[in-house]
């Protein structure tokens, strides 16, 4: 799969829900729902979602 165009500067230490590793990588700003970002665990290789609401606002 080619690299996604958007690699937002987001938390990279999200814990994998499958194996609890923090060695994870953000792949995309939208997962299968608007509430989650798509991550991948670099240890167990599995994909997972992370709920992204952190109350950050765009620059104004």
């Amino acid at each position: 799969m080619s690299a996604p165009q958007q690699q937002p500067d987001q938390p990279q230490d999200i814990e994998c829900p499958w194996c609890d590793s923090k060695n994870t990588e953000l792949l995309s700003a939208y997962g299968p729902s608007v509430a989650e970002m798509q991550y991948k665990c670099l240890d167990c290789g599995q994909g997972f979602g992370w709920m992204k609401w952190e109350r950050r606002l765009p620059e104004a």
Partner: protein, 316 residues
Amino acid sequence: MSSDAQTTRDDAVEAAMLARIEAGEMFEDIDELSPRYREILRQTAEIASISEVSVLTWACTAYPTAPDIGAKVAVCATILDEVGHAYHQGILAEQFGVDVHSRAFKDDIKFIWTWPIMEVPIRNYIEFVVMQSMLDRAGLHWTKDLELHCSYAPYRRTLRKVNFEEGFHMRHGNFWTEFYWNQSEETRAMVQRSIDWIFPFGVMWFGKPDNLKTRPEQLKYKVRGWGNDFMRDKWLQSSCAFLNKLGADFPAEFDEETKKWRITMPYPMKYDAENYTWSQEQCTHDEYWQHSRKGGPMRPGAYERLRREEWGDKLW
């Protein structure tokens, strides 16, 4: 080594693999899998992720008749969900050497496989919600099988995430199908027309009857656990119960002895994708699948469209 010797050795590797699977072992590491087993998983994961991409082009045909903001949001959410699942499953498929991006956007379109109905444009938003009710129900049985039975554990987990989310489509479809059934005579007629078209696709969703197939390798290697007949029956019981509650017409009857629904339509029969009708004449399963392999009216145009951009006056 002679090719015979090679074959013998390969057979021994596969036999050992099968013995471990048979003993109920689950596998965590891709390196533990025999070549044949890997190939079966590769095919399964590729088809699963590519067919989700086809939902994108197909669901887009529901936008123009989606009547209000809420309906449009539902179409967007469906696309987000399905493409998100293609991507999510692609992460696993990638480990088996599948390049989902290449398959969807670069390779020969003949490699894109999907269910025949995903290549027939959706006529209107009401049909869209009936599709969700009937066909997401079918898709759910299909993927639930992998989640529950796959002997490769990472695949189970991948599908757990997918199934956890897919249930919503069916519930959304059920809710609005019932809503439109009760809304007006016109909407009820449209729901009925949609059921007439979609129901047989649900019956055909699960492939050939088990007795017409040699035991498929997916079952041999316990990638799947349920046979086609079992899944079809689960789908049928659940769909018929829902449609019966509505009071809709559908080609099945309740058998008081077995306490189960059984189909009354010619099985199988051919569909006419241009006119959204079924022949109502029985054919053979080989004839049906030969017919469906031709693909629907959206092939290849819809996939070509994904590789092309249209701008300016073509948009509005």
